[in-house]
């Protein structure tokens, strides 16, 4: 009996430990967005190319989230009756931007130019997964409710693997100075 209580206590303590560790060190892999925007509908069903909305990806570090005007460009006509679109319109009318939640969040000391990777011909899906089939953008693949593999861990080793080996798929050679610290860090 005494032992049993001991186990209970230990179990509880360690549970809390794990819980906090997770909350502190691993980000939310599929956050809830202010508007349940569905890439499945846009990129999947309607086959809108990525660059149509993420306009800066080709010529800047940032891919850029679509500005509200661009959304309204279509949605001032299309599906204006749907309540979700109306929330969007309300943002537009209130003249305040939509606070999207960041899914792929690199630390400040990492320098990742979308430009270079896009120009090198790395498909967006390589890192961002098959967004065309995602209703909500997520970084983890789930089966039986258990996350078993991330689309992209965004860890240094993962980057290096591509810089060393997979890069040859795209540019024929490994990335020049691809393993040089200051290529990606600043």
């Amino acid at each position: 009996m005494k032992k049993f209580i001991l186990y209970i206590i230990i179990g509880a303590a360690t549970f809390i430990m794990g819980y906090t560790i997770n909350n502190m060190y691993s980000p939310d892999l599929s956050p809830v967005q202010p508007i349940p925007f569905s890439h499945k509908i846009h990129a999947g069903t309607n086959k809108i190319p990525c660059m149509y909305c993420h306009i800066y990806a080709e010529n800047s570090r940032h891919a850029g989230v679509p500005n509200v005007k661009r959304c309204m460009g279509c949605h001032s006509i299309i599906r204006t009756d749907s309540p979700l679109i109306q929330t969007l319109t309300s943002y537009w009318e209130k003249k305040e931007p939509i606070p999207w939640v960041k899914v792929y969040n690199l630390p400040d000391h990492v320098y990742f130019p979308h430009k270079r990777h896009v120009k090198a011909g790395v498909p967006c899906q390589r890192c961002h997964g098959d967004v065309a089939n995602m209703d909500r953008i997520t970084r983890q693949a789930v089966s039986f409710g258990i996350p078993y593999a991330r689309v992209s861990p965004l860890k240094m080793g993962w980057c290096l693997e591509c810089h060393k080996n997979e890069a040859q798929k795209y540019i024929g050679t490994p990335v020049k100075n691809g393993t040089d610290c200051w290529t990606c860090h600043n």
């Binding site: 630390p107 400040d108 000391h109 320098y111 130019p113 430009k115 270079r116 120009k119 100075n177 040089d180 610290c181 200051w182 860090h185 600043n186």
Partner: protein
């Protein structure tokens, strides 16, 4: 394990002999003409502005924790009325044989493929070894979390990280500008041209005392200046092979004139 071993054997051939690294892409070099330099300090401030260098305030300045990556040293010789004053801007010399690099246990400072001596802030654990080994005292340490008062943080350069507490940092020859220039060159499918890259200090220097370029490219301005008979390098006797070349000040004084 097998692959690991053959990796080693394959590299044994390359990396056995010292100085293999001479096969760098570039050798960025700065030439500073001490006869032009009038010590006005524009370069110091340009460095502050470009590299998000924090202002540490009076107390820490008193503890000699002023952060400037680039400082202008002033040496005064003689007594009134024949006083000789000499200025020399000192920043990281980007030594080819840098003492700091061998010192660091975690590879936080090393020599990159541009022949630059770079510091990786997010790898640094702060053992102070590099700074202790550096003969030029150019390394600066984040003694505490230096915050930028609102709204001064709006001027922070997004191309440069804001260093966190406990890491070492130093002059980078404005590597972010080199990076941008290379990026541009790559887009236009060409090599980086001479004079295309200018670190903040060089850009701002009112007397044009500083010149920056690639020493490996024989046609570059620095390559020509480096041939000047006035050339010398700081504390050359320590055999650190600095990438900063000084041109001697023209001046009538007893000290420091004798040739090596």
């Amino acid at each position: 394990m097998a692959g690991f071993l053959e990796r080693i054997t394959e590299r044994l051939n390359i990396y056995r002999e010292p100085g293999w690294y001479k096969k760098f892409d570039h050798k960025w070099t700065m030439v500073i003409d001490l006869d032009k330099c009038n010590g006005c300090g524009a370069c110091v401030l340009a460095c502050y502005a470009e590299n998000n260098i924090p202002v540490v305030g009076k107390e820490d300045c008193d503890k000699s924790r002023a952060f400037s990556w680039l400082r202008i040293e002033r040496y005064v010789e003689g007594e009134y009325p024949d006083v000789k004053v000499k200025f020399i801007p000192v920043m990281c010399q980007h030594c080819g044989k840098a003492p700091c690099e061998t010192g660091c246990p975690v590879y936080a400072t090393y020599h990159n493929q541009d022949g630059l001596n770079v510091q990786v802030y997010n790898r640094c654990v702060g053992t102070f070894t590099c700074a202790t080994y550096c003969p030029y005292d150019v390394r600066r340490f984040n003694w505490r979390t230096y915050k930028f008062e609102q709204p001064l943080d709006n001027q922070l350069n997004p191309d440069v990280t804001v260093r966190e507490m406990g890491v070492m940092e130093k002059c980078t020859f404005c590597i972010q500008r080199i990076r941008v220039a290379k990026d541009k060159a790559k887009d236009e499918g060409r090599e980086v041209q001479d004079g295309e890259i200018q670190p903040a200090c060089v850009q701002s220097c009112p007397t044009g005392a500083m010149t920056f370029g690639d020493l490996q490219d024989p046609s570059s301005k620095v390559a020509k200046l480096a041939k000047s008979p006035r050339r010398y390098r700081l504390l050359e006797e320590l055999n650190t092979d600095p990438s900063v070349i000084y041109l001697k000040r023209v001046m009538n004084d007893g000290a420091g004139t004798h040739e090596e």
